[in-house]
């Protein structure tokens, strides 16, 4: 909302400078976004006096002038205006000036005569329409005075970023009312006179020309109309154009401009119809059709065709719709140069209905903007009368006697019982009833003291009809607070009960994972929840995989962000591709976030929180102590093992993923992470085809863990175990087994043996060897077994037999051979 100070001054004295005024408005809730000076373009335009004027030697219509531009300087200027004469005070644009239309003034020669500037017409300076000659400044001036100050043209335009609750300030009068309450001494707005001059009254009565019927009073509680005869449609007077242009509205013709002017002035949108295009002298306010009817095609006055739903409210004549109520008029009844009889509409429409229509049609007009926020239900007549009287004056029209005022649904006045005590509790203040009354009175709330004798006596507050945002005592507390000043309210601190509280477990778990992962050298990524619709296809995931149940966004921002992710994989792969494209080839990324699975139409999706991690590139770079070595599956597995051991989760099995369950893993390079039958997650190497689909040029290894399962797998409590008192002994054993034998299964066998046996404390694989000397389809595996007793120091004799038994069991179970 733009307001110009000169326009505001018609309703309220404004003496503050624009900066100070902006600050006060901002701190009262009307945030001023910017202040522009309206006449900045008049820089380098000064008052000058023509000292001498003589005929141009080479051009009949030109005059060579000598112009006093101030401080005794005389400039030669060639002028083409017929009215130039010696002694005349003129508006002179000096070299350097830039006039409207990006017209730059320079020193030049015209037909051989020097000209160091330009004498300007009012039209050239956008000050009036007169282009017939240069401005003849009336009065005594000091030459060289900037034109802006000589003509007192200073005007500032404030751009106010209004919150949606303040439609009353979508008007000059509304803003003026606020200014009146924010300046000292407080002032009340002066409203324009809207009485019709008797000389302008026509003998004819509006009721003989038009009737109004409201078929849907809930959607149109009030419809008022006035009528003018002998209207001369033409350009608006300059003052009116200036007003509208200053606040950013474009001018059309005097009739339309006046409706816009009154809308800006009062906040009430108006519409003017060409009466002669209203069929059967009837205005009917009704919906476009009955429910279920086909959409109606309608052309608005901007020549656009809209399809209208049957429930949209229309203004119709005796035959057809002539306007979309409160949104935009129709082309079929707009004001043209040929219009002579004008019907002016000023109505109150249901805000929700207008908003729905504006949203559905995509029309955001100045009218719908105001109606959907709520105009003053009692402001219709005032605005109508204002428009009619202006049209009588500036369109040389006569006014029909009588007005139409259909008001089937009255908007009751709002009265609020306000408890000063409750208000003070809410704000943390100690205002007296009188202080509250005074503050509210400054913005035209009416106050009756209901029970003034008592301390907590209620105040009965009558809310002015234009304040559609105020309905309850709490709303009044805001009025009092903002007008008093938020920053003058004393800061205090709430008292709270020191009662035990439990921390939510999930944020704690998340924090620990982040701690562990950053400790492992991973950077935390945050990817968008939205991904491409073809994300599943890119990961080779097919129906009936759960991950194909993606939630689609109805109004996505782009195809790249069309659905909610069902997997953390694509985001991490995309992040990897972005990094490697920038020559960062070693990455350790992790992310904690939700994935979403569609459940049923119209239902919230299932949200599952996961943690994912990705590694690619090199275990370490080329250094003085090692060669560059690429990461592999076991680097990733080590991270997962490290993370799980960080949480003391033991007994985890890594099982080969079944075909089809994780198709984005390279076949034979994927595993499920399982604890007590519960799948915690997966890990594996990204299949080359999938990598290619994501634009990856190197191997990627990725894990994901389900946070709910991880939380379930956490040990309930940690119980310390005493440290051993006696030394251990280690024995190694090496077997040659067929390649297909999985180490995990052999370890399971050792584990089972150890549990039964009791003296085996630890066992691990420490060497894997493959080579032609042991056979192409064989591998050599070496295990170390650590023996310890809780009650004595073990000797070779204590363990010899056990070690042999274990060795024999492996030989038997796995067709293993001993080396050599």
């Amino acid at each position: 909302m733009k307001v110009s100070l000169s326009w505001l001054r018609e309703y309220i004295p404004v003496d503050l400078d624009p900066k100070d005024l902006s600050d006060r408005l901002t701190m009262a809730g009307l945030e001023v976004d910017g202040v522009e000076s309206l006449y900045d373009y008049l820089d380098n335009v000064v008052v000058a006096q023509v000292v001498q004027a003589r005929q141009h030697p080479n051009a009949d219509k030109l005059t060579c002038c000598t112009v006093d531009i101030g401080k005794g300087e005389l400039f030669p200027i060639v002028c083409g205006a017929p009215n130039v004469r010696e002694g005349m005070y003129v508006a002179c644009a000096l070299p350097g000036a830039v006039l409207p239309g990006d017209f730059k003034i320079k020193k030049s020669k015209l037909r051989g005569e020097p000209s160091h500037g330009m004498l300007c017409s009012a039209a050239e300076l956008m000050l009036a329409h007169d282009a017939s000659g240069i401005m003849d400044l009336d009065g005594e001036f000091v030459t060289g005075t900037p034109l802006e100050s000589a003509l007192k043209l200073t005007d500032a335009v404030l751009e106010i970023d209004l919150t949606p609750n303040r439609p009353d300030c979508l008007s000059l009068i509304g803003v003026a009312r606020e200014i009146g309450a924010l300046t000292e001494p407080r002032n009340k707005v002066t409203l324009p006179d809207v009485t019709f001059p008797e000389a302008k009254m026509d003998s004819r009565d509006i009721h003989d020309f038009v009737s109004v019927r409201i078929e849907d009073p809930q959607l149109c509680p009030r419809y008022t109309a006035g009528m003018l005869f002998d209207v001369k449609v033409g350009p608006s007077p300059v003052w009116l154009k200036q007003r509208l242009e200053a606040v950013g509205l474009s001018c059309v013709n005097n009739v339309v401009d006046i409706t816009n002017f009154v809308m800006m002035e009062t906040g009430q949108p108006l519409h003017a119809f060409d009466y002669d295009n209203i069929a059967k002298s009837k205005i009917i306010v009704r919906t476009a059709g009955k429910p279920g009817d086909a959409p109606l095609e309608f052309t608005t006055l901007d020549s656009k065709v809209h399809k209208l739903d049957p429930e949209m409210l229309m203004i119709c004549d005796g035959e057809k719709p002539v306007g979309i109520a409160g949104v935009m008029g129709g082309e079929n009844s707009e004001i043209t140069d040929a219009t002579t009889r004008v019907l002016v509409e000023s109505a109150y429409f249901n805000p929700v209905s207008i908003r729905r229509t504006a949203k559905r049609t995509g029309i955001a007009s100045d009218a719908s903007h105001r109606f959907e926020r709520g105009v003053d239900p009692e402001g219709t007549l005032f605005a109508l009368n204002r428009a009619v009287s202006l049209m009588a004056q500036f369109c040389s029209a006569t006014i029909a006697r009588g007005i139409i005022d259909e008001n089937p649904v009255k908007t009751p006045p709002v009265t609020i019982d306000l408890s000063p005590k409750a208000l003070n509790v809410r704000l943390g203040t100690s205002f007296s009833a009188d202080e509250i009354a005074q503050i509210l009175g400054s913005v035209e709330f009416g106050i009756d003291k209901k029970a003034a004798q008592k301390d907590d006596g209620l105040l009965q507050v009558h809310v002015p009809s234009f304040r559609v945002d105020v309905a309850r005592p709490e709303d009044l507390s805001e009025e009092v607070a903002r007008l008093w000043g938020y920053n003058k309210i004393e800061t205090s601190y709430p008292l709270i009960t020191a009662k035990g509280r439990t921390l939510a477990s999930r944020p704690v778990l998340r924090g620990k994972i982040r701690q562990a992962m950053t400790g492992f050298g991973f950077c935390e990524a945050i990817n968008y929840n939205f991904i491409r619709k073809d994300a599943c296809a890119r990961m080779a995931i097919e129906d009936p995989d759960k991950r194909t149940r993606m939630v689609e966004i109805l109004n996505p921002i782009s195809d790249q962000m069309a659905v909610l992710r069902t997997s953390i994989v694509p985001g991490l792969l995309e992040a990897m591709a972005r990094n490697t494209a920038k020559q960062v080839d070693t990455l350790q990324l992790f992310e904690i976030g939700k994935v979403f699975f569609d459940t049923a139409p119209g239902k919230q999706p299932e949200e599952v929180e996961v943690v994912g991690g990705l590694i690619t590139g090199y275990r370490w770079d080329q250094t003085w102590y090692s060669k560059k070595e690429a990461v592999d599956f076991f680097d990733l597995k080590g991270v997962v093992q490290g993370l799980l051991s960080y949480f003391q989760i033991s007994g985890v099995l890594y099982e080969r993923t079944e075909t089809g369950t994780c198709p984005y893993f390279e076949p034979g390079y994927g595993a499920r992470i399982v604890k007590d039958g519960l799948v915690l997650g997966t890990l594996g190497k990204i299949a080359s085809g999938v990598g290619a689909a994501f634009g990856l040029k190197q191997d990627a290894y990725l894990f994901d863990l389900d946070m709910d399962s991880l939380e379930k797998a956490l040990p309930q409590a940690i119980q310390a175990v005493g440290l051993p008192k006696f030394p251990s002994i280690s024995r190694d054993m090496t077997f040659i087994v067929p390649k297909r034998v999985e180490v995990g299964v052999m370890i399971d066998t050792i584990s089972a043996f150890a549990q039964k046996q009791g003296l085996i404390e630890d066992y691990f694989l420490f060497d894997v060897f493959e080579g032609s000397n042991i056979g192409e389809d064989k591998k050599s595996l070496s295990f170390r077994v650590v023996y310890r007793s809780a009650s004595k120091t073990l000797t070779e004799n204590n363990i010899k037999k056990i070690h042999e038994q274990l060795s024999q069991k492996i030989i038997n179970d796995f067709q293993a051979d001993l080396p050599g």
């Binding site: 701190m27 809730g29 919150t163 949606p164 609750n165 303040r166 929700v352 908003r355 729905r356 949203k359 959907e372 509790v425 943390g428 309850r472 709490e474 507390s477 607070a481 938020y486 920053n487 309210i489 004393e490 800061t491 205090s492 709430p494 709270i496 009960t497 509280r501 921390l503 944020p507 992962m517 950053t518 492992f520 050298g521 950077c523 935390e524 945050i526 990817n527 968008y528 929840n529 939205f530 939630v551 966004i553 109805l554 109004n555 921002i557 782009s558 962000m561 909610l564 992040a575 972005r578 990094n579 960062v584 976030g593 939700k594 979403f596 119209g602 919230q604 999706p605 250094t623 102590y625």
Partner: protein
Amino acid sequence: MQNNLQDIEKQALEKISTADSKDALESISVQFLGRKGVLTAFLRNIPSLPVDERPAAGKNGNLLKLKLEEAVRQARSELEAGAAGGAEGIDITLPGRMVKKGALHPITQVMDEISGIFLRLGFDIAEGPEVETDYYNFEALNIPKYHPARDMQDTFYVSENIVLRTHTSGSQPRVMEKNEPPVRIISPGKVFRCDSDLTHTPMFHQVEGLMVDRNISFGDLKGVLTTFVQQFFDKDTLLRFRPSFFPFTEPSAEVDIRCAMCKGKGCRVCSNTGWIEILGSGMVHPAVFENVGYDTQKYTGFAFGMGMERVAMLKYGIDDIRKYFENDVRFLGQF
């Protein structure tokens, strides 16, 4: 005899102290301490001395031997230190086998820090679904359908009544429905708005908070948020509360902090206002309490919310909001 020892000492120490290489030092050592060295000759000569001189000569001779040996050792290590730049055995300036350094996302860091401040003030964390019903995201918070306030938040729809939450405030009615006051919660999390340009990403992070109890006032709101701002930014940060509008609060206030870049003089960062908007807040609207069945006569409360991306931008001087979600490790590694 004694004179002789003193001469040896003087000569030897002078030569040792002026030796300019290990080789030179070695030959000096041989000259005095070697098998055929001067001092060795002196010691060997002791049996030929008169009996009463022998003990003193032996003792002094051996003391001098120790002294010279020590002097040589010291001179040698000084020479080595000079040659190797101070290293003994290894070059400690070789790069270490550095452990890889990870990094938390800057958004996580500010979110944790902010959560920490409120946890210390006695708030709990309440999280809710990221895909929310229209009811909890809007209606319960006094934003009916077709209310112009819906324009304040461009919403992603999944179906007519299911939206991607536009703020984390939906957790507030969820918590209040299940708990009587006092309520003190913050809700950190992702939120979504249908907006994408230089200063907006369609997903961003918020921390929102709610405090409900008896006699909670606008003054208390000012106190708690002032505490927060001064803990998070700087203890001397100036702030101001500016009237605004949110459908779920009345009165509503924006909180601006004094621009740290220009100290209030006006600059590009603060759009020449001297102030930077960082928080929205207000006293909970009674309609919100009515929706969850709280007694509006008995309880009052305040709510607030802020965007993490913006706060992190101020804290770390990040200039482009899109960097947060590109996950370029050269960016992530800086925090």
